[in-house]
């Protein structure tokens, strides 16, 4: 079957789409994507556009805050007209991590209502919990797929918004289920639906802030290896 022409392809300009359940609005939601990797920015931008989102992609937490008007400096853009409906950020970034960015956003009265989703290549329970506790809506394990992006509509400020307390607890259980529980030297060939497992052994190292072994509590480590 030919890849082009045989199916009706989604275009960025199309409004209503067939997997859009909560979004009654025809106007495209605006997502701010934050990732220091050029390759990942290109991919996430395309994933979002093909899912009918408007996208602004920036390469750092600092630039994200500037865009959101939170850095204290006078922004050359009137950020009020560039309303952001969701922020999706990488966890591991030099300078300000995604976690620090999340804290800044949730700590701001002007921005705390904007849903934030965190992406990471490291699938670790403690990291997931830390983000959810800080108010992230979801935690996506990289590499990001279309199915991950489709779920984002559930978190749209203008869309359906179920009770966040109960949702958070359920979300945590769901994410724990797929997160690292044991260490193995090499991953098996992954299918398109499986989550990758973190490969780093859980020992303390003089590592960069984004190493999954740093900041993990001993109790979590015990739970993960049992």
């Amino acid at each position: 079957m030919a890849r082009n022409g045989a199916f009706s392809r989604r275009r960025a300009s199309e409004g209503a789409d067939w997997f859009d359940l909560c979004q009654a609005n025809v106007e495209e939601a605006h997502v701010l994507a934050v990732d220091d990797s050029l390759v990942d920015r290109k991919v996430i931008e395309r994933l979002l556009k093909i899912s009918s989102f408007k996208v602004t992609a920036v390469d750092s937490g600092l630039r994200a805050l500037q865009f959101l008007g939170l850095d204290g400096e006078k922004s050359h853009v009137d950020f009020h007209s560039l309303k952001v409906d969701l922020i999706i950020t990488d966890y591991c970034m030099p300078g300000m991590t995604g976690y620090e960015l999340l804290k800044r956003i949730k700590g701001s009265s002007a921005l705390r209502e904007i849903p934030v989703v965190v992406m990471s290549s490291e699938n670790v329970v403690a990291r997931i919990d830390r983000c959810l506790e800080e108010g992230a809506e979801d935690f996506i394990v990289k590499p990001v797929k279309l199915s991950d992006v489709r779920r984002l509509k559930d978190y749209m400020a203008r869309g359906c918004q179920p009770d966040s307390g109960g949702k958070n607890h359920q979300k945590r259980k769901q994410l724990h289920g797929s997160a690292t529980s044991s260490w193995s030297p090499l991953p098996s060939v992954s299918s398109s639906r499986s989550r990758s497992r973190s490969q780093s052994p859980l020992v303390d190292t003089p590592a960069a802030p984004c190493s999954p072994s740093s900041l993990e509590s001993p109790t979590r480590r015990l739970r993960m290896t049992s």
């Binding site: 079957m1 030919a2 890849r3 082009n4 022409g5 392809r9 989604r10 275009r11 960025a12 990797s37 050029l38 390759v39 990942d40 290109k42 991919v43 395309r46 994933l47 093909i50 591991c92 030099p94 290549s121 990289k142 590499p143 990001v144 797929k145 279309l146 030297p185 090499l186 991953p187 060939v189 992954s190 299918s191 398109s192 990758s196 490969q199 780093s200 052994p201 020992v203 190292t205 003089p206 590592a207 960069a208 984004c210 190493s211 072994s213």
Partner: protein, 155 residues
């Protein structure tokens, strides 16, 4: 060469890359993001990956070459390489990076140097294969054909 034969050759070649474990399902995801409105998407992403990787490999080589190796820096580069290779579905590169990070954590210089060699080999290998893949695709398109979709279950 007749179009049908060209398409068959392309399909077999693509499948072989998956069978050899060079590419994984993430590459298929990228192909799904390519359509008439964005026909060069996969090529563009892969191109970015090549540029990014060459820079990373240079930095990595330089970092490993120092009298006193800064493992935090090395780890940062390998983490980046692991991320970008994972994002395009370059499975073997990703796997070597995972191994590499284990040795970095142990601060095992010899093993790290071996990994550096290996990761370079894997990179140039997949680069060459992908360049061939794109060439075969171009031939099919130039002959007026379309690119056959690869089934996820077939490998």
């Amino acid at each position: 060469m007749e179009l049908g034969l060209m398409q068959r050759r392309l399909e077999d070649y693509t499948k072989s890359l998956f069978m050899e474990g060079l590419l994984d399902a993430q590459f298929l995801q990228l192909q799904q993001l390519q359509d008439e409105s964005n026909p060069g998407f996969v090529g563009e992403v892969v191109s970015l990956f090549f540029d990014d990787s060459e820079k990373l490999l240079n930095e990595l080589t330089s970092a490993m070459d120092q009298q006193i190796v800064d493992f935090r820096k090395v780890d940062s580069y390998v983490h980046q390489f692991k991320g970008s290779s994972s994002s395009i579905g370059a499975q073997r590169i990703k796997n070597v990076c995972i191994l590499f990070r284990n040795y970095i954590e142990e601060q095992n210089i010899e093993a790290c140097l071996r990994c550096l060699q290996q990761v370079k080999q894997e990179y140039y290998h997949v680069k060459s294969k992908l360049e061939t893949l794109f060439r075969l695709e171009q031939q099919v398109l130039a002959a007026g054909g379309s690119i056959p979709a690869i089934e996820v279950t077939s490998f």
